[in-house]
């Protein structure tokens, strides 16, 4: 979606410290050039195909459709991307742009670690130095991802300020960029931040919706009647929705994280329930979860990738104008939706994506039998093994962890023996 000088209605813009002005302008120019550059686009498509496995399938879910007895349910399989999530579409795009600009290092923030891993993968492949900022609390909660980032050669820096989660990691990435702007690119993981990041990330993610346009017509002779996507920062939602923006008959539903309840700090609902307020922070204007004094607040979701305090200015604008309908799903509904997909279709969804499932499952029974809905399965759920095991109260999991610990070589000597 084209912005007006970086703005989408009242949202977006570029509110960054003066020190970053020149670098921001450089990205703006590089992106404008790249969008028109046939060879850049050809390389992008090639990497999407050959590195990430695109195009991803559009999968019909016969059992779920029968189960609900309403709309015909299709999944856009972003879980089948390399790294297991749509994040790859964006990091490949920005990674190529970094090479184009001649920078040598990338900086990224990560919450759950999905964007961190995707960035580390691409940095390794493109020969870029890579520094990932991650809240110290998130590092504790998501250590397996941290492990892989380090194995991939990235430096993972724990952020110990504030609540020590995604928002603080983003602040710290901006601080790094303020000092390293000459040789480093800030590779933001979602369609937020200062212009042109929201537009650029949405552009790279739009491959999702562009594929669905073709696949839907090929598989069922029409565009989908409804699209569903979870909304964290908003990048997978932008990716699926924006290519259908002008097809007025296509309805779009964004699903936010209702978490444990509607009290401040228990959820990440910025748009659907008048819980967020307009604000300007972290480089852009959008709806933020904040107190009356304009201090940003803590958020919660069972899905680490959805607990961001702000949201894409593009989504905020389209929600305000009514083009996108926003709703939310609670943690327990999300686990139920995840479990249902496992049992009915043999697909393991990420907890983020399970929000989109939960939102769609509420509507599906009430929709006409000949209607078609597409749910963006933004990622696979392998990464959520610890959270899901806890949520379904699996009895054997703690036993497994204990056994693993008991046999783990902790002493240096044991290590050497193993090698």
């Amino acid at each position: 979606m084209q912005s007006e000088n970086g703005f989408y209605g009242q949202y977006g813009g570029s509110y960054i410290p003066e020190i970053l002005f020149a670098s921001q302008q450089q990205i703006l120019t590089a992106f404008e050039e790249a969008k028109q550059d046939e060879s850049f686009l050809a390389e992008l498509n090639k990497q999407w195909q050959q590195f990430s496995g695109r195009p991803t399938p559009l999968t019909f879910c016969a059992n779920l459709t029968e189960h609900f007895g309403g709309a015909q349910i299709y999944l856009k399989r972003e879980d089948l991307n390399h790294s297991g999530a749509h994040k790859m579409n964006n990091v490949i795009g920005q990674g190529l742009l970094v090479k184009h600009m001649g920078k040598k290092r990338v900086i990224a923030e990560t919450g759950a670690g999905q964007h961190g891993i995707a960035t580390a993968l691409v940095a390794a492949r493109l020969g870029l130095e890579c520094t990932i900022y991650m809240g110290a609390k998130d590092i504790e909660r998501q250590y397996p991802n941290v492990f892989w980032m380090k194995q991939l050669g990235a430096e993972v820096v724990p952020v110990t300020t504030g609540a020590q989660t995604l928002r603080d990691a983003l602040d710290e990435a901006l601080r790094d960029w303020s000092s390293s702007h000459e040789d480093s690119h800030y590779l933001i993981g979602t369609s937020c931040g200062c212009a042109p990041f929201p537009e650029m990330v949405a552009f790279f993610q739009s491959v999702i919706g562009n594929e669905v346009r073709q696949q839907s017509v090929a598989q069922f002779d029409q565009f989908p009647d409804r699209l569903y996507a979870c909304v964290g920062g908003g990048s997978n939602a932008c990716g699926l929705f924006l290519p259908f923006l002008d097809n007025k008959e296509v309805e779009m539903i964004g699903v936010e994280a209702g978490g444990k309840g509607l009290a401040l700090g228990e959820h990440s609902i910025r748009l659907s329930h008048n819980l967020g307020q307009p604000g300007i922070a972290q480089g852009f204007a959008t709806m933020f979860l904040q107190d009356n004094a304009g201090q940003l607040q803590e958020t919660h979701s069972i899905a680490a990738g959805l607990d961001y305090v702000g949201v894409s200015p593009i989504i905020a604008h389209l929600a305000e104008t009514g083009r996108i309908k926003m709703t939310y799903a609670m943690d327990d509904e999300v686990i139920a939706a995840c479990t249902l997909l496992l049992k009915k279709e043999g697909i393991i969804p990420a907890l983020e994506s399970s929000h989109a499932l939960a939102g769609a499952f509420k509507d599906a029974p009430n929709l006409p039998k000949d209607s078609k809905i597409v749910i963006n399965l933004s990622g696979r759920g392998d990464k959520d093994i610890f959270n899901v095991a806890k949520a379904v109260q699996d009895e054997t999991f703690p036993e497994f962890l204990n056994d693993y610990l008991a046999s783990y070589p902790t002493r240096h000597l044991d290590n050497q023996e193993q090698n």
Binding site: G13, S14, Y15, I16, P17, E18, I19, F21, A22, Q25, V157, T161, G162, R167, D168, D171, L174, R175, D176, S178, S179, S180, H181, E182, D183, Q277, G279, I280, A281, Q282, G283, F288, Q290, N292, A293, G294, Q295, L296, Q297
Partner: protein, 261 residues
């Protein structure tokens, strides 16, 4: 001429360079921060830059970030802060107080109301590091209406054309960031080869009629000496906070005396 610029000129008749000392409002508590400001004013610093805390201060390094987060453990109120600063401004007419914050808390308070209330309390300058001049027309108008100065920042990597634009629009003083990076010591020490500070300040001086303030990374007497004749105000931020954290008000005052004797 703006009130701040005139004040600066008058003061410079008797001093080679003026001192602007930075204090985080509400750190470690509102009372203690006000007592620290009063002490600084009693020691006749020329300016105090008071930072109203924001949860996400992206242009600041670890010392100031930690102070802001500590301060935000209490509920802080912009209007109360301005009234309290106003009282100090009245008690110490030989010094000036400017208010620095990030955009969001001020935007929520209302930029028009901010300019009006600041002016009522004789807070003559406002610094909002994440509000670029391109997005600031309403703020600029509000400041003009209430006769206070919006302070703009320039940096060593600001493109020349933009630097001259900002310098020509500067009122009150122009805040020249001395180096890339965030305030204070941090893990993000810049490796970039910033142009020499002397050349940078000379270029600014060509284009700015407003006084020149220099900040970021100042912590040694030699750095202040280097600025004399090239800048009008030296801004002491994290170094002062670090001294305060280590040895309280007295250690802070000692640092100021050492730097500006």
């Amino acid at each position: 001429m703006s009130q701040l610029a005139e004040f600066t000129q008058q003061k410079l008749i008797r001093k080679p360079i003026l001192a602007m000392t930075h204090v985080v409002y509400g750190y470690p508590s509102v009372t203690e921060s006000l007592s620290w400001m009063r002490r600084l004013l009693e020691e006749s610093v020329d300016f105090i830059e008071v930072q109203f805390p924001f949860s996400d201060p992206v242009a600041d390094g670890p010392s100031i970030v930690a102070a802001c987060h500590k301060a935000l453990e209490q509920t802080l109120d912009v209007d109360t802060c301005l009234s309290q600063l106003g009282e100090l401004a009245r008690d110490f007419p030989e010094s000036r107080i400017v208010l620095m914050s990030y955009l969001n808390p001020m935007y929520r308070f209302g930029l028009e109301k901010l300019a009006k209330r600041a002016s009522e309390e004789n807070i003559q300058g406002l610094i909002l590091p994440d509000l670029p001049i391109e997005a600031a027309s309403q703020y600029q108008q509000a400041c003009q209406r209430h006769n206070i100065d919006p302070v703009w920042l320039v940096t060593p990597v600001t493109p020349t054309e933009r630097l001259t634009m900002l310098a020509s629009q500067a009122s009150g003083f122009l805040y020249c960031v001395a180096r890339s990076g965030v305030t204070g010591h941090s893990s993000h020490e810049s490796k970039a080869k910033d142009a020499s500070l002397d050349d940078y300040l000379a270029l600014i001086k060509q284009h700015a009629s407003a006084p020149i303030g220099v900040g970021f990374g100042l912590r040694k007497r030699s750095q202040i000496e280097q600025l004399i004749g090239k800048a009008d105000i030296a801004i002491l931020g994290s170094a002062l906070l670090d001294a305060y954290n280590q040895g309280g008000q007295n250690a802070g005052i000692e640092l100021i005396k050492e730097l500006f004797h």
